[in-house]
């Protein structure tokens, strides 16, 4: 196959990955890894490098829209970023000593977990009880809705911080945004309303990915021949996805895609188990 044909096929694949990531809410990065490894049979290390770039591109692209609405809790994001960036650095270090097959199995498991997370019921309630630490750290905030500003308070800051560290480690190890874990920490543990947790997690994904991307770039995981179609394709797909989301009701679509993603994840685990990476 010539480079031209390869680039065009990968561009289309990355576009679909970006579209799928945006419609399911999983993010652009996670679909890139199975696309590159299972379809193009690329080494998982190249796939991780490309997926990190896809995560940064989609999170920065999507953040542009959120910033204006004033929903993102910047202080909360910044505070938790201590945990995720530290985790990302640890993850990038562990990655050197982790066999690629183990990484593939871990990735498949996280993918199944993420798909299940997008299908679950979301926390819409703003909590009125907050912990002392949340007040000291000025994490309690408000966000605009149709019926005016809604105030919310935050609980279990320590537990949330710990889950964020884990999310950071996985993100550094696997090259994904691990948005699902971030939302779990904020949504279920810290009791933050869904709208705030999704946008704040998106803000954090780019920074977390950048923290490990600088290591992976130096390690030679980022190939320009892959980066070119992946970045442009994923961005295009995510853009189309965000336009589509305002027009269609994605619930049915989300279920179908999540089931499809679970099958992909099972194949990653199966191949990893049989030492095919």
């Amino acid at each position: 196959m010539s480079i031209l044909t390869f680039t065009i096929i990968l561009l289309i694949g990355a576009y679909l990955a970006g579209l799928l990531g945006s419609l399911t809410g999983l993010g652009g990065g996670v679909v890139i890894i199975p696309l590159l490894t299972l379809v193009f049979h690329a080494d998982i290390r190249y796939a991780i490098g490309a997926a990190l770039l896809a995560s940064i591109a989609t999170s920065s692209g999507a953040a542009t829209a959120y910033v204006k609405e004033g929903i993102t809790n910047i202080r909360l994001g910044m505070f938790l970023e201590i945990a995720t960036t530290m985790g990302a650095v640890i993850g990038a270090v562990i990655a050197v000593y982790t066999p690629t097959n183990t990484i593939a199995i871990l990735f498949g498991s996280i993918l199944i977990f993420s798909a299940a997370m997008t299908l679950r019921k979301k926390n819409q309630e703003a909590s009125n009880e907050g912990s002392k630490l949340a007040a000291v750290l000025k994490l309690n905030n408000s966000y605009p809705t149709k019926d005016g500003e809604v105030n919310y308070k935050i609980k279990h800051v320590g537990a949330g911080f710990s889950i964020m560290t884990l999310a950071g480690v996985l993100s550094g190890l696997l090259g994904i945004g691990s948005g699902a874990l971030k939302v779990l920490a904020m949504d279920s543990t810290m009791r933050i309303p869904f709208k705030v947790s999704t946008t704040t997690s998106n803000f954090m994904i780019g920074v977390t990915a950048a923290a490990s991307a600088v290591v992976y770039l130096q390690r030679g995981y980022m190939d320009p021949g892959l980066a070119f179609p992946v970045i442009l394709g994923v961005l295009g797909g995510a853009f189309t996805g965000s336009k589509l989301l305002t027009k269609i009701n994605p619930t049915a679509l989300r279920i179908i895609f999540c089931v499809a993603i679970i099958f992909v994840a099972l194949e990653m685990i199966y191949n990893g188990y049989n030492h095919k990476f």
């Binding site: 530290m86 780019g206 923290a211 770039l217 030679g220 970045i231």
Partner: protein, 133 residues
């Protein structure tokens, strides 16, 4: 300069709006650089066979270090040009942290100035800490 440092000027401008613009420009500029580099890469090498991505060999100096990438760009190497776009993309969220630091300085929020500097330090450690082994 005095105007730039006065708090009211930036309050009017709204730092958050600025951050939104910075993110948008970061993504757009890096995409344009990647697209330009990629187009010339395809024109120059499009007919060649695909490199073997099934085996991981890593990338050469030219693609993995700042100086290597800049030197390649200066010599109009197409792949290094793509890597320059990659660098700009990675820099986008890091620059956003720097912008937030600026906002916290204006608000005189000492706690968050400290937290933001800590996050920046972790990222810089990751960059220069010799973790590439």
């Amino acid at each position: 300069m005095k105007k730039l440092l006065s708090k009211t000027y930036w309050e009017d401008q709204d730092v958050e709006q600025l951050v939104g613009l910075q993110l948008r420009f970061g993504v757009i500029i890096s995409s344009i650089v990647v697209l330009a580099g990629g187009t010339f890469y395809l024109l120059a090498q499009g007919q060649m066979a695909v490199p073997d991505y099934t085996r991981f060999i890593g990338e050469g100096q030219g693609y993995t270090s700042f100086t290597g990438i800049i030197r390649g760009v200066a010599h109009l190497q197409t792949k290094e040009f793509i890597q320059l776009g990659v660098l700009l993309l990675i820099a986008t969220p890091i620059l956003r942290i720097a912008f937030s630091l600026f906002a916290f300085v204006l608000e005189k929020d000492k706690l968050y100035i400290g937290i933001t500097i800590l996050v920046l330090c972790i990222i810089f450690f990751s960059m220069f800490g010799g973790l590439k082994v």
